[in-house]
């Protein structure tokens, strides 16, 4: 479904993606993990066409994403930071995106699911961080697309909303969708993800199922398995932990 071939991207002298190749065909949740600055968001933004790679190709359902923007019709994206126009009401924002996409949307179901009803008439800049994230989630899940990309979906959510989010992700999974998630919260990843792609310095170091990762590293939980992967590669991100 998503096929990434030899992707290179540098910002100035900083090589963020280094000849990265990755294929995601498995239905369900694939978590893209890696330390800060490993290139996760750049990878996601490349898939979305927001970052233009220096070299390499990305195809979705066999179609090169450079050639046509219409692949984004079948793709939902949750940005890492819920940054939306400040002067719009939540209601207006949702209406605007619906109008731009021109597709049937399940916004009402989602508003009820995440309990956003009381906030619909508020302006976006008056909302708390968690509520903003819920608006972000409604906008991302609204269109029932077969491919969903979530960048740090759990950030700022209270425990109840977090449970809701996991519940919703499980519903989406049951429909056979492909979901890409980045997160730094390993317990969250462990609960929802079947597959792990581990990214380090712009390269994929591991791509396989969660159980394969545990077997490979000989660790019981994901947090230690990831740490083991980092240690194995002698990564500077661990220097502080060791000393």
């Amino acid at each position: 479904m998503v096929n990434i071939q030899n992707l290179n991207k540098a910002f100035g002298r900083n090589q963020v993606l280094d000849n990265l190749s990755l294929e995601i065909d498995q239905k369900g949740v694939t978590a893209i993990l890696g330390p800060n600055g490993s290139g996760k968001t750049t990878l996601i933004k490349s898939i979305l066409g927001m970052v233009i790679p220096d070299k390499g190709a990305i195809t979705i359902n066999g179609k090169d994403i450079k050639k046509d923007v219409l692949y984004r019709e079948n793709l939902d994206y949750l940005p890492q930071i819920a940054d939306f126009p400040d002067n719009l009401k939540v209601k207006e924002l949702i209406k605007m995106i619906k109008d731009l996409r021109n597709k049937p949307a399940r916004d009402e179901t989602l508003i009820r699911f995440f309990g956003l009803g009381p906030f619909l008439d508020k302006k976006f800049n008056t909302l708390s961080g968690g509520t903003r994230q819920k608006v972000n989630l409604v906008l991302a899940f609204m269109f029932d697309s077969p491919l969903i990309i979530l960048d740090e979906p759990s950030s700022g959510l209270d425990p109840v909303s977090l449970i809701r989010l996991k519940e919703w992700i499980n519903r989406e999974k049951a429909q056979g969708k492909i979901i890409l998630v980045t997160s730094h919260i390993m317990s969250f990843v462990e609960e929802i993800a079947e597959n792990i792609a581990f990214l380090l310095d712009g390269k994929i170091y591991f791509n396989g199922s969660l159980s394969e990762l545990k077997i490979k590293t000989g660790r019981e939980d994901l947090e230690h398995a990831i740490a083991a992967l980092l240690l194995e590669n002698d990564h500077p991100a661990l220097v502080y932990h060791e000393s």
Partner: protein
């Protein structure tokens, strides 16, 4: 793209600044008509205000809008929309909204004064057309600057610098050169130099139409001599359209390659 034009247009039309801009022109038009008590005098004064002020407002608004609507832009970029459609749409939205403030702000007092019953109507139309053209030109230049500079302070700096250069400094240097080399034939040089500055082009376009040789200045006279009134008008309008199209084309090219 139409939807984006609509959103950008109303986004700006709702803001306080575009009302202030509209009211400013309303006031200026009314006051000038009362002071001059004739249409042609008011048009000449307005021309002088327009060719300085319109570029400034369009440049500042263009840059400001781009930086302030980053979130909106990022939201749009994740939708199935072409980049060129997003930025061209935003461009037409903001330039259209500014032009509307200008046209209504000046049009209302002039219409009330009895413009439609006078022979001045075409001269006034040329004033508005150059005002709108300058709005579109400087908005697209502003978008170019803002898209090429991530840093807002830098972007604003370059934009103001560009305005200063084209609206103020250019004429000064031009005059200095004309004075310094007055023994030489400078017709061709001054023609070319005028074409490279949209502010000068608009001035000449209005002056040719008003046919006031006293205010024409050196370039105006050369222009008239070289092209005659009507060919000069067509040529300068053509050049003004190029001044809109070329930056717009470059803007779309930058937008295609940019990372967000």
């Amino acid at each position: 793209m139409l939807k984006i034009i609509r959103y950008s247009f109303f986004d700006l039309a709702r803001s306080r600044w575009s009302y202030a801009y509209f009211l400013f022109y309303l006031l200026l038009g009314t006051v000038l008509l009362f002071l001059n008590n004739n249409l042609s005098g008011a048009i000449i004064t307005l021309m002088n205000v327009n060719i300085i002020l319109v570029p400034l407002i369009a440049t500042v608004f263009g840059v400001m809008y781009h930086y302030n609507s980053r979130e909106f832009t990022n939201l749009l970029l994740a939708q199935p929309l072409k980049r060129s459609a997003i930025f061209t749409g935003q461009y037409f939205g903001i330039a259209g909204s500014l032009s509307l403030s200008l046209v209504l702000g000046l049009g209302i007092p002039f219409a009330a004064y009895g413009l439609f019953r006078s022979a001045m109507i075409w001269n006034f139309a040329v004033l508005l057309i150059t005002g709108v053209a300058l709005t579109f030109i400087f908005t697209s230049l502003a978008f170019n600057i803002a898209l090429s500079n991530e840093n807002r302070i830098k972007g604003f700096g370059y934009a103001i610098l560009l305005w200063l250069l084209l609206a103020v400094v250019y004429d000064g240097i031009f005059l200095l050169l004309l004075a310094g080399f007055q023994e030489y034939p400078l017709e061709k040089f001054s023609l070319v130099a005028t074409v490279f500055n949209p502010v000068d082009l608009s001035r000449i376009l209005i002056l040719l139409k008003l046919d006031i040789s006293a205010l024409m200045g050196y370039t105006g006279a050369v222009f008239k001599q070289f092209f005659g009134t009507s060919a000069g008008g067509i040529f300068s309008s053509l050049m003004l359209s190029l001044w809109i199209l070329l930056p717009l084309w470059r803007m779309r090219r930058i937008a295609k390659k940019k990372d967000f």
